[in-house]
């Protein structure tokens, strides 16, 4: 990229876009973003203009047209895309501000500096925990009592894990003193001890960063509810993937909240992560779920690794384009649709 300078440490452009893109679209005036903050949809190898045909670029004036081939559904989807783009920008701004304060993610038990991407020391406090809330619309749950799935054992010497560590992390994972990470933690709402799923930066750096980004936006999701897996998990996964563009080779779409939780599903944040990392996390969750039943809650806590600071850039969390409408309610969209229908 000749046109601009990018700092991988901070995941941020250091020089403004030399070309004002899309003056009719508010995101176009944000000169330090990359490709309208939508790297999954556009690329910009030169730094001067993103590569995509104009018809596919966000265009709020076209969002309400019926030319997308999908009738009203298509129009709604276009609105969703445009709003989602804008919302990502707002989310970035909020995230950056929170990072500067350095205490927005009280669930980070890094014990020191958190990653350069987020910046600032974490407090390690627990004020961020709240009772269940946040995401809705996920499928699945204890009703009907799906059978407990067989747990996949976690084997740190697993050949796949070792290959991944060598290829991606450049060597074996540094051993962690897991005794400092208790297996349970009291739920501030009920006082009940809940199991904890730690997302270690040293083991799954991309997933760690993704999780941290998601919790920065939605701290209530630091407590999730296991849905028992099986069909519920499959449906949540499939719902979260609908309407999403292809994932790069070697990566897999990761969801947060997980498909295996009641909070997961169509509203889940998604990002692409290396399949090796996802496999490691799968083993960890499998161990966690072994002692849980559908409906049980657990904490999700990202753990920074100051002694092994792998700074990992991940795409900002994205959500399903139809569902991510923070500024326009569904009834409002229906009214808009009716207006255009007549």
């Amino acid at each position: 990229m000749n046109g601009r300078v990018y700092d991988p440490l901070y995941g941020q452009m250091l020089s403004p876009d030399p070309v004002l893109q899309f003056p009719g679209f508010s995101q176009g005036f944000e000169r330090y973003t990359y490709c309208l903050n939508n790297p999954l949809k556009y690329i910009d190898p030169t730094g001067y203009d993103d590569e995509d045909d104009d018809a596919n670029k966000p265009n709020p004036s076209a969002c309400f047209s019926f030319n997308s081939g999908g009738g009203f559904a298509g129009a709604v989807k276009d609105v969703g895309n445009a709003v989602a783009d804008a919302a990502v920008a707002v989310g970035n701004a909020i995230g950056s501000a929170a990072s500067a304060v350095g205490n927005y993610l009280s669930t980070d038990h890094g014990g020191g500096q958190s990653s350069g991407l987020q910046g600032g020391p974490s407090t390690g406090g627990e004020s961020g925990y709240t009772a269940e809330g946040g995401s809705t619309g996920g499928k699945g749950g204890p009703a009907g009592g799906p059978e407990k799935p067989p747990a996949r054992p976690v084997n740190p010497s697993d050949a796949t894990t070792q290959r991944y560590q060598q290829a991606v992390l450049g060597g074996p994972i540094r051993p962690l003193d897991r005794t400092q990470y208790p297996e349970t933690k009291p739920d501030p709402a009920t006082g009940k001890l809940l199991p904890v799923h730690y997302v270690f930066q040293s083991e799954t750096p991309t997933i760690y960063q993704f999780t941290k980004n998601c919790l920065a936006r939605d701290p209530a999701l630091s407590i999730l509810t296991y849905n028992g897996g099986g069909d519920w998990a499959d449906e949540n996964r499939e719902d979260a993937m609908r309407g999403i563009v292809k994932t790069p080779y070697g990566y897999s779409r990761d969801e947060f909240p997980y498909a295996s939780t009641i909070e997961g599903g169509v509203d889940a944040y998604i990002a692409y992560v290396p399949i090796g990392e996802q496999y490691i996390q799968g083993g960890q969750l499998s161990s966690l779920y072994r002692n849980m039943n559908a409906g049980d809650k657990f904490f999700v806590i990202p753990v920074a690794s100051p002694q092994n600071p792998i700074i990992q850039w991940v795409p900002q969390p994205q959500t399903h384009p139809i569902q991510f409408l923070p500024f326009i309610s569904t009834p409002a969209l229906e009214v808009i649709g009716l207006i255009f229908a007549f």
């Binding site: 999954l40 949809k41 995509d52 596919n56 999908g70 559904a73 298509g74 989807k77 799935p149 067989p150 747990a151 996949r152 796949t160 290959r163 991944y164 290829a167 897996g229 099986g230 069909d231 998990a233 499959d234 449906e235 996964r237 499939e238 993937m241 609908r242 309407g243 999403i244 563009v245 292809k246 994932t247 080779y249 070697g250 990566y251 897999s252 779409r253 990761d254 969801e255 498909a259 295996s260 692409y272 399949i275 090796g276 996802q278 496999y279 996390q281 799968g282 083993g283 969750l285 499998s286 779920y289």
Partner: protein
């Protein structure tokens, strides 16, 4: 092209036509025989080349996918699109360190586009196609191993897919006009037609 896999593919297309499935316009032209052999010899040296597999790519060289459109439009049946030879090469190179695809002789014929694949062991398939399962390769599901048998054979996979269309377990969603499914019915059909596959036993 006259074998039972080809016949199932023809039935599949007939199932998709009345639904106006977007993929019908997105299937690539056939690959050339030399292109197929070059690929198979590069990644599966010494493995007997199955005529049925070769015929699949002589039918269509997979799907013309891109990074602009939702993967749903590429799906030949809900959840998966047919990989082109080029796409398979990219996939095999990218997932080798996790799945050891060469060692396992995995041919990832279908992709979800989100990190899940349907693959068969080409070596086993060449020797005994009816007893070679289709594996579901994924890392997202904590319940599953890296690869889990999902269909009892390639033929049985297409047979199951066609049965799902026939029984309306697969259909077009009126909201977005994409292929969709009735998960419960799909599972019932798939479990019955693939009694040896662990995926449906969960």
């Amino acid at each position: 092209m006259a074998n039972k896999i080809s016949n199932e593919l023809e039935i599949l297309i007939k199932n998709l036509e009345p639904l106006n499935a977007p993929v019908l316009k997105l299937l690539n032209p056939p690959a050339s025989e030399s292109q197929i052999l070059l690929f198979l010899n590069k990644y599966f040296a010494g493995v007997l080349i199955s005529e049925e597999i070769k015929d699949m790519f002589l039918w269509h060289n997979g799907t013309a996918t891109d990074y602009k459109n939702p993967t749903d439009i590429f799906y030949l049946f809900p959840g998966f699109f047919f990989n082109s030879i080029e796409e398979m090469q990219n996939i095999m190179d990218a997932i080798e360190s996790t799945y050891k695809v060469k060692e396992n002789s995995f041919l990832p014929l279908f992709s979800s586009g989100h990190g899940e694949y349907l693959a068969l062991n080409l070596k086993d398939y060449s020797n005994n196609p009816d007893a070679t399962p289709i594996y579901y390769l994924s890392t997202w599901n904590p319940e599953l191993e890296l690869y889990t048998p999902i269909y009892d054979s390639l033929y049985q996979m297409f047979n199951t897919v066609n049965e799902c269309f026939k029984q309306k377990a697969y259909f077009v969603n009126n909201t977005d006009l994409m292929l969709d499914k009735d998960s419960k019915r799909r599972k019932q059909i798939s479990k019955k037609m693939n009694p040896n596959s662990d995926y449906w036993k969960r």
